[in-house]
Amino acid sequence: MFELTEEHQAIVAMVAEFAAENIAPHAVQWDQEHHFPVDVLAQAGELGMGGIYVREDFGGSGMTRLDAALIFEELAKADPTISAYISIHNMVAWMVDRFGNDAQRAAWLPQLCTMETLASYCLTEPGVGSDAAALSTRAVRDGDEYVLNGTKQFISGAGASGLYVVMARTADTGSAGISAFLVPDGTPGLSFGALEKKMGWNAQPTRQVVFEDLRIPASNLLGEEGAGFSIAMKGLNGGRVNIGACSLGGGQAALDKSISYLKERSAFGAPLIGQQALLFQIAEMQAELESARTMVWRAADALESGSKDKVRLCAMAKLVATDAGFSAANTALQLHGGYGYLAEYGIEKIVRDLRVHQILEGSNEIMKLIIGRIAIDS
């Protein structure tokens, strides 16, 4: 499992080439101009990146979680924000594939897999983030329909997506009273908040999603009534591995830039790479990223095989990889001196982008809560 197969290498080479040509040259500009490149996402979709671990019958690529981790790391070397959005889209596509019935799969998967239609994951609310089981958006059954009311907060892709998978309360029984729904864009009663102004992740929109007496057919229920929280958490297991992989890519890119920079930059009469204090920082970045990568691959493998250890391994992968990625990026900024602080060099953007990976898809405190609880329970 620690040696990549020839096929893995071919996948990585293709994604690297695609990202180097179509994403990396524009990353700084997209960040500055807050541009969400849906055309480039569609190109990625054509290559199979819209449904990486979705089954093949409705257009998925039928690949493994490890393949996905390798792909997201490679995309993130070019732009963590774009990679992270594609990872969220894949998480939603997988939820439709795994929990949808054949009619729902046939209706949504072909367009999601090509990324002609983008998807958003709607769990967080203004009042609840970490404690998602306390969410209050309501879905009330009315004949052949459900009527939704409530507000979702911080929704990635909102306003640009064609499909919103929404977790809403159908009963007052805590996490067991939550159900998942497929809400197509354009449904009357669906509206969006203003574009959030953010520290990073500027190349993808984040908005509130608002439901006001929004009616959808009862057939838009994803899975069973009451299964929504479990569906949302199962999606997040993979999401965590993927967001970890995005952090590895960003961190690795920052490290690679630092190595070239220290070789080029001279101070006190010699290239900076000759300063052992700086060399040690390179070594630490390298070692932390590599151990986190090992963890991400192991978690991906556990998820693929359905190991009973998967929840804690995914949480650990997310924790260590997002911390290692951010720390590497932040060190890289320091190693670049004043130039690291300039937008042009692309380093400060990586720092800003990777910072949020420690907060979302379950904050790193929540990862510790999961790991710690499992540790003392077993």
Binding site: E6, E7, A10, I11, M14, E17, F18, E46, L47, G48, M49, I52, E56, S61, G62, M63, D67
Partner: protein
Amino acid sequence: MKIVVLVKQVPDTGEERILDASTGLVDRDANDPVIDEISERALEAALSVKDRDKSTEVVVLSMGPSDASKAIRKALSMGADSGIHILDDGLLGADATLTAQVLAAALRNADADLVITGNESTDGRGGVVPAMIAEHLNLPLMGSLTTVNIGSASISGQRRNDEGTQDVSADLPAIISVTEGFAEARFPNFKGIMGAKRKPVSTLAAAELGVNIAARTKISSVETRAPRSAGSTIIDEGQAAAQLVDFLTTNRLI
């Protein structure tokens, strides 16, 4: 229609390449081996025919060391149907005449309607192999094309030379070589990459093709290029433009 595309694995052109002064051969270990970009353009031309007509069969043919199987796999992942790998230690460092003879022998059995190659490889840059193959097989050659129209019984295209452009056409079977004017190759998609290992690749040795390995080219000497001397710097004190023009005219650069 059956199209055979000649694909060559070459040292990565993105890096400095090294010529071994003792043998006169390219040092293949000095760079990552990649599929030649011009071969990829040739393949793209064939695949665009297959896009229009699914019944088109695209075969890639490569002569090269065992590692060249990677170039063939990449071509298969992009959409070619099968591969032929001519693998023979005796062919290491083969010259253009021997290469053309071997490729022609393989093509003789391939029953192609059309053979597509790059006009010259980025490593050797001899640019004579396509014409030599055409001669061996007695096929019309439309060389160094900038555009092509591939019909079911004939082809036409345009080539550029020092005087202007030439419109050329030929009946099939024929062989064409393409230039940088052709479209860049597509990316392989994931399905293509996963499916490539299920596609057939046959491996042939020179003897199986009935070719007697004997080079006809003799390299009399190889010299390393003299290191570049530092350029001269013109500092603009109001006269820079005139000085530049002087420099360019005295060195016959304009």
